[in-house]
Subunit: 330 residues, 2 copies
Amino acid sequence: MEKQKIAVFGGGSWATAIVKMLLENLDTVGWYMRNEYVIEHIKQNNQNPKYLSSAELDSKKLDLSSNLNDIINNYDVLIFAIPSAFLTAELAKLNTSLKDKTIFSAIKGIVPETGLIIGEHFNKEYNISLENIGVITGPCHAEEVAMERLSYLTIACKDEEKAKNMADALKSWYIKVKISDDIIGTEYAAMLKNIYAVAAGIAHGLGYGDNFQSVLMSNAIREMKRFIKKVHKMKRNINNSAYLGDLLVTGYSTFSRNRMFGNMIGKGYTVKSAQHEMSMIAEGYYATKSAFKIRQDKGGKTPIIDTVYTILYENRNPKKEFKKLTDKLD
Amino acid sequence: MEKQKIAVFGGGSWATAIVKMLLENLDTVGWYMRNEYVIEHIKQNNQNPKYLSSAELDSKKLDLSSNLNDIINNYDVLIFAIPSAFLTAELAKLNTSLKDKTIFSAIKGIVPETGLIIGEHFNKEYNISLENIGVITGPCHAEEVAMERLSYLTIACKDEEKAKNMADALKSWYIKVKISDDIIGTEYAAMLKNIYAVAAGIAHGLGYGDNFQSVLMSNAIREMKRFIKKVHKMKRNINNSAYLGDLLVTGYSTFSRNRMFGNMIGKGYTVKSAQHEMSMIAEGYYATKSAFKIRQDKGGKTPIIDTVYTILYENRNPKKEFKKLTDKLD
């Protein structure tokens, strides 16, 4: 098979992990990031100084650039791993065509400006056909990719061949890959799990224990199933790794930014002070707003999303709201 | 409502937690345990010196005895929370009738001598009708009951009134209770989750990370669903707290004896040395043998149970067996 021309967009830990995975299989990987200092550092030191610095990256095989359009023009398959909050600003730099490109989202979030998941955003705002859109999803902490600990990915694309090609490009002795045709469901799951991780964090911050966390996660997966069924009804097993596994790896992880953010909220920080303290924005914050809006439009019972929404956006008391939530769980 | 006459059998942490819960609602709780020294200590100090010693137990309301038959004769509803490995020896002391008694299992295991779950054991060996048998299940670490951290129980009984009565006796400001009619499924779930906790421990001991654990748990709940469907087909949502929640609280807990046991096996201990080191026997050890036998009889795909079985009972190399297992998960 001819080597695929794949590029990654983003300089964070998940982008870096994906680049590392691709380097196991490809001779050249395109890599766009804004920060020219980081690009220079990677070229000279074979490692990203800011994220996942323990991962060795063979810079001879990297085509690094801070010019978004150059990278787009030179590659066929584009993997976006830019935090959703910055995606619009990055895409504003676009002055070339995305026609005939295959776009994979590895973002796991929602575009704050449009309230759309990434696949829908490219479909509606950039007129990319759904056949040319795919999703790369976990359960997968980037940190464990750096350590080459066995991890499983799910690649979703309506075009099975495109999914298989991406699977071939990513798999290695420490990465197993499964394909799926549920691009909408896997991406919503990846976005919703961040909200549930915020909820898990709030619960922990409020002093709830492991018994409660397991009940919360058990309710969360049922809520996720109902929610995704409303937005895109198809046959899917919600207990597959891309849905339940992804929920668990995030909800039970102390690494998770969303869980950390929730934990601070539970401990009494305001949203603003928690965001300031973390010097980053948890995806789950935006996801909550969008999910709540979708729920209002489509209906359905989503007590966990509703509770996180009232806490984050209506400034309600976490302790009181969680007390009410506990009566709705079972 | 007239106060129920309920007694608890067993002196361990889960028995102690159940006694504590009952004391919130009842004026008298019967409590059988073997150890007379512990009985004396509880009477004098209002706490179990060996397990859950932080839980205050009002001894004025406790009817403690080391005479199994006395307690059985004086109470209508009997909650068994004796480790399954000792149940046969305890029941050998029986010289009174269990007729007209309602028996609840809080054991979460399998009787090693008969290979039966507790409900089936009482049904088949003691001729107790299934209508008079119930199950008390988590997700619930006893330690968190002692701390009065919010926990959710599921009470399963075919006789809804008996389930409701038990729910009334157990619920309090920190205990929420749900009822179910799935006595077979909830008890198998409680027993199977111990095997998956052993598996999670082995994986951890071998150096697998959080990404893999989430995939393992996602596969475990699907395997549990298939297994329980084979032994007792009925409509159930495997993602309810009694099944998935119970799996998670055990699989993700570092307190879990089963997970600790698995962890030692993963690190290279033999079964014997791990059991010796822990000075107790993990329920999951017996559960594995029984579940494997049931799987052989009934068929079905249970790669995780099979793997744990070959490691614990066929003395196979954990590293090699888990390597093979990773190819069967997705």
